[in-house]
Symmetry: C2
Subunit: 206 residues, 2 copies
DNA sequence: TGTACATCAGTGAACGCGCGTTCACTGATGTAC
DNA sequence: TGTACATCAGTGAACGCGCGTTCACTGATGTAC
């Protein structure tokens, strides 16, 4: 029953922002995309459901925009975490850990981005490859290659995909399988073991 | 519009089997749990929707039973794949590969088992640990430990959880992110790199 | 300075849909006497 | 051997629900003359 003053002329776009904010809050609070209905969003903002269609073509576009914004945050979060780390191998572990942590703290957005059925709007592979988050991971891999800590005979993109798969595995199990006795250092352990394995590929080839 | 002869007295349980079969087929065919409605299942079998409630307390119990059965198949599939493999480290890779393959070939059942929201009925952690599939993985890890190929100073269950996370990461990305240029040997590469990393843990401790 | 008018930011009611589930029932099948 | 009856395996119609979306509208706000 949140009431809201009607926006003044030319300021209709304010509602757009409020809708995005409310959707994000609901997604985070309920932790369930299916509970974030058009009606729930509208009520949270203090507006009638049809008002949403003044600013978004449909519900999916709204949800997706919220999640895409969160995706940009994911990139920033990872970059911040890795910023001070000199050692390029350690930096890969730190990145992975940041990725996992972000996913665990924003499980529903994570689900919408990476664990959704094919039917709904999701990041296309092309979009995904062009995201800052993935691009920065590829660069981090390449730095490790240039420092001679990973084999340079392999494509950095491929290695980045592998690291993504490992971090995603940890993240989605932590999100999806509650109550399992995951050790506190689980993510760290898995990531570290993986980069060890990557390093040994380098050792055998050089 | 499948019509079906009413079962004779005492043979009502036949319908139960037919319902399980039809649900499994629909799940596999549509690849979308949400399309597998009570009405769709009933129609596939040639029976009215309420007939389902003669055999299952609710829809969730039916879906879950189908998926749990598939889970038992997963175990068999993995055991068959690993049966002839002598080398205990190679056996871990082979197991992982079988896991991924099974998931990719049964994506919707995989989703229901491992990628579902918390609200619905899912395997409890206790059930999960007691599944043959997880138990057999732990045993396979312990064989590698006993052969001196993995450090024995760590809990086999923990290492099994790590391998699961890695295999799950690959599986769920392959399922969830279609069209991304995953290499054909992606699963193999990731699993092999991980067991390499695990082996190097053993090297440093012994 | 006053007023007609276009525009903008919404609203209220309703649309049709498909869902899981319940309830009172039917009619064939087997059994007891 | 015939018949009344209990049982079993279903059916048909309807329940209430919440969903995303559409449509005709309203009423305040600013602008032109």
């Amino acid at each position: 029953m949140n009431t809201r003053a009607r926006a003044r002329r030319g300021e209709g776009a304010h509602l757009r922002e409020e809708l995005l904010d409310a959707t994000e809050r609901l997604l985070a609070a309920t932790g369930d995309e299916e509970m974030v209905s058009v009606r729930a969003i509208a009520e949270a903002v203090g507006v009638s459901p049809p008002a949403i269609y003044l600013h978004f073509p449909d519900k999916d576009a709204l949800i997706f925009e919220v999640c895409a914004a969160r995706f940009a945050e994911l990139d920033r979060f990872i970059e911040d975490a890795a910023a001070g780390v000199r050692d390029p191998i350690e930096a890969l572990v730190v990145r992975g850990r940041a990725y996992v942590r972000f996913g665990v703290e924003n499980p529903e957005q994570y689900r919408v981005l990476f664990m959704r059925r094919g039917s709904a709007r999701a990041l296309t592979p092309a979009e995904l490859r062009e995201t800052a988050a993935f691009g920065n991971l590829v660069k981090a891999v390449e730095r490790a290659q240039q420092a001679g800590r990973l084999t340079s005979s392999e494509d950095g993109v491929r290695i980045a995909m592998e690291l993504w798969a490992v971090a995603h595995g940890v993240t989605s199990l932590l999100i999806g399988v509650h109550g399992f006795p995951w050790p506190a250092d689980f993510a760290d352990r898995v990531l570290r073991t993986y980069v060890d394995g990557l390093s040994s590929r380098a050792d055998t080839s050089s």
